[in-house]
Subunit: 355 residues, 2 copies
C-alpha cells in the first residue's frame, strides 16, 4: 500500500510513526493507543466488483425520486437574500465572508469564484485574499488573524487544500471560533460530536446533506444510516450529525471488510468517498435514500473540457433501486454553498445581535 | 417517554426545544438541523427479550478467555510508579492530580477515594477540593481556575455528575486544555474525532477499553465493532477511538431498531449502556470479544450492602459464546483508574519536558 502514497502522505505517515514511537518510549501504555493515521485509499477491488445488472429483476425496478438540490438551494438562498435585505434595512449592516485562496489550483479557483458569486447574489459582502503558492505559512496566518479582528467579516474560509509546506491544522485552528463558518475548528467538531452541546457552526456539506433529507421528508430517527468515507470535512461530521438525529450509523471506510453488504443494510446512504462509481446498484437496499456527495472528474470525450463530473454512486443502477437519490451535479453541491451562506448569515446575526 | 424523564432532563430538553424554536424563527433552514437532544432511555423491551439459553447447543458452548483488567491495570500502575520515581529522582518533581468533588453523593465519594488512593500508591500527589452541594457555580469555577494556575497540578478532574443547578459544560470547559486528564474538553474530543489530529488526552475509560483489547492481542483493524451507548464519557469516544484503529464501527443506542441483530454482527462488542443484563448471550456472535463497561448496582440479598455490581452483559450467557470477555468487576474499572494515572503522568512529563 505504501507504494500508492504520495510524497506528502509518506512524510505525514512518517511523522505519525515517529510521534507514536516517541510516545511509546516515554509511556507506560501500549504504543498504538491512538493509531497511526494511514491515509484512506480505496482499493480498486471495491469498484471492480461489477454486479450483473440483470440481478435487478424487472419487478424490482423502480425509478427513484430525484432530490433536487438545485431548487432546494435556490429556495434557501432566496430566504437568505430576504434576511440580508432586512438586516441592511434595519441596522445598515450586511454579513461579510472572507475567502483565503493560496496558490493557483484551477479547481480551488473555480470553487472560490462560485462562493463569491453566490455571496454577491444574496447581498453578502465578500473579501478575497489571494496569496502565492510559495508564500510563507506566516503570511496565511497573518491574513487569518487580521480577518479575525475585522468586525465587518463574519465568516472566514480558508480554501483547502493548502500547499504542501503549510500546516493545515495550525492555520485552521487560527480561525476565530465565531467566524469558523466551515465548522472545521476542533471545538466546533467536538461540540458537534458531544451530546447536549451546540457547535457554533456545522460544516456546510454535512449540514446540506441533512437539509436535503429533511426537505425531502425523509425520517432520520431510528433509521439505519451508512456513511461511506470518513474525511474530517464530510464523512465524519455527517456521521455525527446523523447520529444526533438518532439514526444508527455505520461509517464505511477503505478498511471495511464488506462495504457492499453493510451498505445494503442501510435505509439512508451518504457516500463521500471521492471514488467515481464506487457504489453500485447492488450496494443499495430497495427503497433506500441515497445522498451522493462525490464530484469526481472522469474522462469524457464528449465534453468540451475532456472530462465531466460524476458521483460516487453509479446513478443509472442506483436510480432503479433507491426510493430517492441526489443527482451529480445538482444535488449536494448547490446545497453546500447555500449552507455556507446560511452559516455566514447566522454568524452576522450573532455578531450584531440581530434577530 | 416524557413520563420517565427526571425533572432535570425535562428542563434540559425544554431548553433545547426553546433553542431550536429560536433558531427556527431566525433561520432560513430547517429548524431541527441539529436535532433536539432527547435523553437516552433504554426501553424495557430491550432486556426483556429473554432468549432461551437452550438455543446455545452443547456443541457451540465454549468458555471465553477472561480479560483480566485487574492484573493488566496492576502492571500499568507498576510502570507508572517506576516512572514517577525516575522523575522525582532526576528533577525532584512528581505529577499532581487535583480532584474536585461537589456534594455528598456516596458513589462519587467512593470513586474519588479510589482515585486518590490510586494516586498515593504510585507516588502521584493528589489535592482534593470538596464543596457543598449547595455552593454557587462560581465557587466551582474559581476552584478550577485556581488549579489551572497551580504549576504543581497537572491534571484536574471534576467528579461528575455535578449538582443540578450547575452548568456542567461551562465548568468542564474551564479546565485548562493541558490539564484535561479526563479528555472531556471539546477541543480534545474534536481532535480525537478528526483524523490526523492528536488530542492531548484520551478519555480514561475508552482508552482503557482499547488498552484491554491491545494487551489481549485482539486485532482491531478491519474488524466490525459495535459500541452500545453513546455517552460523551464512554460510548462516543470509544466509537471514535475504535474507528481511528480502522474498525468499522456502529453505535447502538436506545433509538436503534434491532440492537440484538446489529450487535450479533460484531467481532468486538463494547457495552456502555448502563443497563444490567441488557446484552444477552444471543446478542453475541460466537467468537466475538466482549468489553463490558457497565457497573450497575442490582439488588442482592446475599450481599452485606444489599446490592452488588453487575455489567451490561449477561456474563453467564456471553461467556459461553464469546472468545474473550471482561468480568465486572475486575475488567474495565481498574483500567479506567490506571488510564487516569497514565494521563496525569503524561501531562506532568509534558509540563516539565521530561522524557
Amino acid at each position: 500500500m505504501m507504494m500508492m502514497l504520495r510524497q506528502r502522505d509518506v512524510v505525514e505517515v512518517w511523522k505519525k510513526i515517529q510521534w507514536s514511537a516517541k510516545a511509546f518510549l516515554s509511556s507506560t501504555i501500549s504504543p498504538p493507543i491512538l493509531d497511526v493515521d494511514f491515509p484512506d485509499i480505496w482499493s480498486k477491488n471495491h469498484h471492480q466488483t461489477h454486479p450483473p445488472r440483470a440481478t435487478l429483476s424487472a419487478a424490482n425496478r423502480q425509478n427513484a425520486a430525484l432530490i433536487d438540490g438545485k431548487s432546494m438551494a435556490e429556495e434557501i438562498r432566496s430566504g437568505i437574500s430576504d434576511e440580508v435585505r432586512r438586516m441592511n434595512t434595519s441596522i445598515g449592516k450586511v454579513p461579510g465572508l472572507a475567502v483565503i485562496l493560496v496558490g493557483e489550483r484551477k479547481d480551488s479557483q473555480t470553487y472560490v469564484r462560485n462562493k463569491i458569486k453566490a455571496c454577491e447574489d444574496v447581498g453578502i459582502m465578500s473579501v478575497m485574499t489571494e496569496l502565492a503558492d510559495n508564500c510563507a505559512e506566516d503570511e496565511v496566518l497573518n491574513a487569518v488573524l487580521s480577518l479575525n479582528d475585522n468586525p465587518s467579516v463574519h465568516g472566514i474560509l480558508v480554501q483547502l487544500p493548502l500547499p504542501h509546506h503549510m500546516d493545515e491544522e495550525k492555520i485552521l485552528n487560527a480561525v476565530s471560533l465565531d467566524k469558523d463558518v466551515d465548522g472545521f475548528h476542533p471545538v466546533n467538531m467536538g461540540n458537534l460530536a458531544m451530546r447536549g452541546r451546540m457547535p457554533l457552526f456545522i460544516p456546510c456539506t454535512p449540514k446540506g446533506c441533512i437539509e436535503l433529507l429533511i426537505r425531502s421528508g425523509v425520517e432520520i430517527t431510528r433509521k439505519k444510516a451508512v456513511v461511506i468515507g470518513r474525511s474530517n470535512i464530510v464523512g465524519l461530521p455527517t456521521s455525527l450529525l446523523l447520529q444526533r438525529h438518532h439514526a444508527t450509523v455505520t461509517t464505511v471506510h477503505p478498511f471495511t471488510k464488506n462495504p457492499e453488504e453493510i451498505t445494503r443494510d442501510a435505509d439512508i446512504v451518504v457516500s463521500a468517498a471521492g471514488v467515481a462509481n464506487l457504489v453500485r446498484g447492488s450496494w443499495i437496499k430497495p427503497g433506500a435514500v441515497v445522498i451522493d456527495v462525490g464530484t469526481n472528474p472522469v474522462e469524457d470525450p464528449n465534453n468540451e473540457h475532456g472530462y465531466s463530473l460524476t458521483g460516487d454512486v453509479c446513478f443509472e443502477e442506483a436510480v432503479t433501486v433507491a426510493s430517492a437519490i441526489t443527482p451529480v451535479p445538482g444535488g449536494v453541491g448547490p446545497m453546500t454553498i447555500a449552507m455556507l451562506l446560511s452559516n455566514t448569515l447566522d454568524s452576522a446575526k450573532r455578531a450584531y445581535r440581530f434577530t
